[in-house]
Amino acid sequence: MDEKLPKTHSRLNPDSPSIDSARIAEVAVGTTKRDIERRDKVFHVGDLSVAYNGKLALRGVSLDVYENTVTAFIGPSGCGKSTFIRCFNRMNDLILGATVDGEVAYHGKDLYARGVDPVEVRRRIGMVFQKPNPFPKSIYDNVAFGPRVLGQKKGLDELVEGSLRRAALWDEVKDRLKDGALGLSGGQQQRLCIARALATSPDVLLMDEPASALDPIATAAIEDLMHDLKREYTIVVVTHNMQQAARVADMTAFFSVEVHEDGKGRNGILVEYDATTKMFTQPSDKRTEDYVTGRFG
């Protein structure tokens, strides 16, 4: 199992070497695609198509996701951006009739190759959903769930504290770790879900519209968090909120809908993928320009 996917060291394990934070510079405003492309590729997606029951949902997407960046997928509804993000941790496997065609490589290893266990993929690649979905258990048990299913019994206290600190939730909940998670506010629940994902020591965090069910203050907290977390994790975020993409993302991919020639079928396609600043100031595709300037969508 472990041979199938490349090893990544556990960032929450005190014995493992810590990340040299100086090595990873913040992405400065005005960073170009070329600057980002110098980083390691976490994902390489090649000519990826997804169909549900034979009906194409997403066609021919190719892009790379770089380490320690925030990559945003934007686009109108129905453009397949949520379908796309679910290919990175094989969550589409859970949908009956879904077929994924093409290549999704994670550190050079094809995630859809024969013999790759989706359960192992999901441990390495964490996910946060649109609607906060804490388990109906205590705050502590929510964070400890991931490590526990992997068989960890010792050191859970430290792991829970570390994860909650990373998710900027520790100070708010440290005195009531045994209380039910459903008693937290929506924004706190979402940060708990982020802490829960971090507890399994992933190196990628997928976020599917993580703030769309939250109020502006809670949204700002999540965005700040994404900014902090990208120093240690690679973040991929789907958002329908263009300002959010502009605020948090280093790279932005714009997806759109293409209508088939017969006028019946429609599917999502990748229109343009570039550094966020470029996407929002001088996009090279007319469709991107129309979308980011609010003329469409």
Partner: protein, 280 residues
């Protein structure tokens, strides 16, 4: 006729219907209690039946009913919950065999209990299993009677757990079984427990299938799992047939005992439902 009058007539009709059902229930309870209270003596719980009403008790029947209930729980809950988990979590809902299974379970829930009695007589008492007219045979048949209901209520409870919980668990690298065992089942236990107890209380009151497979009408010894047996409803039925009014009193007293058992179980079910109710 004005609209208001129509409304009042409608409300009146509903109150009347309510009164009919509650009145019947109340009348039954009151007459049973009046007839049965004199029979509610210690003897009823400690002594075996006798030809003399003053000497008779229902100890073997009460014990057998308790044994039946325990055996029933041991057999129905694992089978019923496992079936429900399969149908809800694993079954490919469009495969023909799963749809056939589902349709059959729904049909089986509507089959009269006596039909299960006939089946039991042919397959459990005689035939392939051939274990004879023993308490275990009665428990197996009652299991068949309540299993469909239990499966249906367990499925409802499992379905009530939102998908976001399953996805959340799987996204953390849990296996499907870990998600079921650690998230879905704990969250659906109140519903499953309620369904199990209600099914059990239905089974405890069943008479026809037990009569059919030959529960004895006179048992003077404590029951064993692999021995001849009677049960409270069968004992009540037996006593009521006797002309001696002393036995009528005993029958009424035994009905009160049976009612107490069933109502206690229902109360536990309601308690569980309220205590562990989950809001998402």
């Amino acid at each position: 006729m004005s609209r208001k009058v129509k409304g009042r007539i409608f409300v009146g009709a509903m109150v009347f219907c309510l009164a009919v059902s509650f009145g019947t229930l109340g009348w039954l309870l009151v007459t049973t209690f009046i007839d049965g209270i004199p029979g509610l003596t210690g003897k009823l719980f400690t002594d075996p039946p006798s030809t003399q009403p003053e000497e008779a008790g229902a100890r073997p029947a009460i014990l057998a009913t308790i044994y039946l209930a325990v055996l029933l729980l041991m057999m129905t809950v694992p089978i019923g919950v496992a079936t429900a988990i399969y149908l809800e979590e694993y079954a490919h809902k469009e495969r023909w065999y799963n749809r056939l299974l589902e349709l059959n379970i729904q049909n089986l829930a509507a089959v009269p209990a006596i039909v299960y009695g006939i089946l039991g007589l042919a397959f459990v008492v005689r035939g392939p299993l051939g274990i004879g007219r023993v308490l275990l045979a009665g428990a197996i048949i009652l299991t068949l009677v309540v299993l469909p209901t239990l499966i249906i209520s367990s499925r409802e409870a499992i379905r009530a757990v939102p998908d976001s919980i399953r996805q959340g668990g799987l996204a953390l690298g849990a296996t499907q079984w870990q998600v079921i065992w650690r998230q879905v089942l704990p969250a659906s236990i109140p519903g499953i427990a309620t369904g199990s107890i209600l099914a059990l209380s239905r089974a405890v009151g069943e008479t026809a299938p037990l009569l059919l497979i030959g529960a004895l009408q006179y048992v003077a010894f404590d029951p064993t799992v692999l021995g001849a047996f009677t049960a409270l409803p069968v004992q009540i039925y037996t006593w009521i047939k006797f002309p001696n009014p002393g036995f009528q009193t005993l029958a009424a007293a035994a009905i009160i005992v049976l009612l107490a058992i069933v109502l206690t179980m229902n109360a536990i079910a309601i308690f569980l439902r309220n205590r562990f109710r989950q809001t998402w």
